[in-house]
Symmetry: C2
Subunit: 252 residues, 2 copies
């Protein structure tokens, strides 16, 4: 279905984000993505409309400098890197940040992924907003500060959360219990955020100031070989919840 | 549809668990739940087959002692309380623990809620397993140690996780961004646990040992008025992830 009017997109990178962006664009009529080798620039099309640098954060600057001359808009896909890192180039510049965790082996519904767009000028911004809208219905503008806040929030909400799930899994494994038993509880905790703020939906022994249960949990963790880190995390988050919430009556 | 052969269930308590158990049983043919006032025992039916004590953990012992004479099995619904707390009674005893977070205002699909059952004898265990199976397809046996491990795991996986979501929400709010932008990422992180262990799906700057991004995040948090606790939590979990994972190449 590709015709002469195709938008050609150089996607520089071989990681998960690059390969998922390729898949997402490949299915859109009128868009021709090409994967470009980040070391040799093999595959690079200087006539492309957009060049997406999708490599690890600390490699962006170098790739950007070494990029062959092109007429295309140059963007990176990093949540925590300012647009300024591209400022050595004369081409229009932007950021094209898909806010999702990408694994090579797992298919994704791209249409729901939030994209955050920043650009060096209004026309470029509009173009990138339109481009993102071709694969997602969840496209936003965000300058570098907003993007960083989203990235940091994602670290707490996703990376750290996943780590807590690892700790839970380890605790359950020792008793021969599958992580699956947690899923309805986790899903409900997540679904609750649709009807109330997480802050208003807090439950558990800490928010109840139930020091007896907290002590029993800590004893259990120590007696069952929990790691020192797991215990430190229990203590810190429990203390923080108790600080954040005034003493209230039973909440379960 | 209630007939003479109905199983009558006393549900002692006025909290979220009690009211949800009432709703769940009320819809089952052949089961007649009654809500019992935990202070006056008004409504208590001594002929009931089961009496469910569903009150805060530290009130169970007292309710149990004061309970009118009855022929029914006596159970509590607490994740972190041993069955022994009921040992002052001569009646058959058990634990009937629904592993879910209950809010009064939110409807639930009871059929997916994991129930964990313990009992003083095999016949009672079998009866309680059958009873739970009438409302859920996710019923397990679990002695007091297993039950405590599930409860502790739930604190990390649900209570602590919700607290991290609160922190994320606070960070985003300051930039005028809605918590909703996190939902696809969180849902994907959760869905990934179905195909890989959380430990194998860890992503983010800490697991990549990306100290530059970590420093940028900490600077951002300090400059944007994050609480001391939020920063402590960032530091502790980041350090713990870095301890848990050997240095690897780019993972995004």
């Amino acid at each position: 279905m590709k015709d002469n009017k195709s938008i050609i997109i150089n996607i520089i990178g071989r990681g998960n984000v690059a390969s998922h962006l390729f898949k997402a664009f490949e299915s859109i009529e009128g868009i021709s993505p090409v994967i470009v080798n980040p070391h040799t620039f093999e595959g690079f099309n200087p006539e492309a409309t957009v060049t997406i640098i999708s490599v690890t954060d600390n490699a962006i600057a170098d790739i950007c400098l070494r990029l062959p001359r092109t007429k295309s808009i140059i963007v990176h896909t990093s949540g925590s890197t300012p647009i300024d890192i591209l400022s050595g180039r004369l081409e229009p510049k932007g950021v094209f940040y898909p806010f999702q965790t990408f694994s090579k082996e797992k298919a994704l519904d791209y249409s729901t992924i939030p994209f955050f767009i920043e650009a060096s000028d209004t026309a470029t911004e509009q173009f990138l907003m339109n481009l993102a809208s071709k694969i997602s219905t969840n496209v936003h503008k965000a300058d570098s500060v907003k993007r960083r806040s989203i990235h940091v929030a994602g670290v707490y909400a996703c990376n750290f959360v996943n780590y807590l799930w690892s700790i839970s899994d380890t605790i359950l494994q020792k008793q021969g219990i599958d992580f699956n038993v947690l899923l309805p509880l986790i899903q409900e905790t997540l679904d609750k955020t649709a009807i109330m703020k997480p802050m208003d939906g807090q439950t558990g022994p800490a928010v109840r100031h139930d020091t007896e249960t907290i002590k029993a949990h800590l004893d259990f963790l120590k007696e069952n070989g929990a790691s020192e880190d797991a215990i430190k995390i229990y203590n810190l988050i429990t203390a923080s919840i108790m600080n954040s919430y005034p003493r209230i009556d039973s909440k379960k």
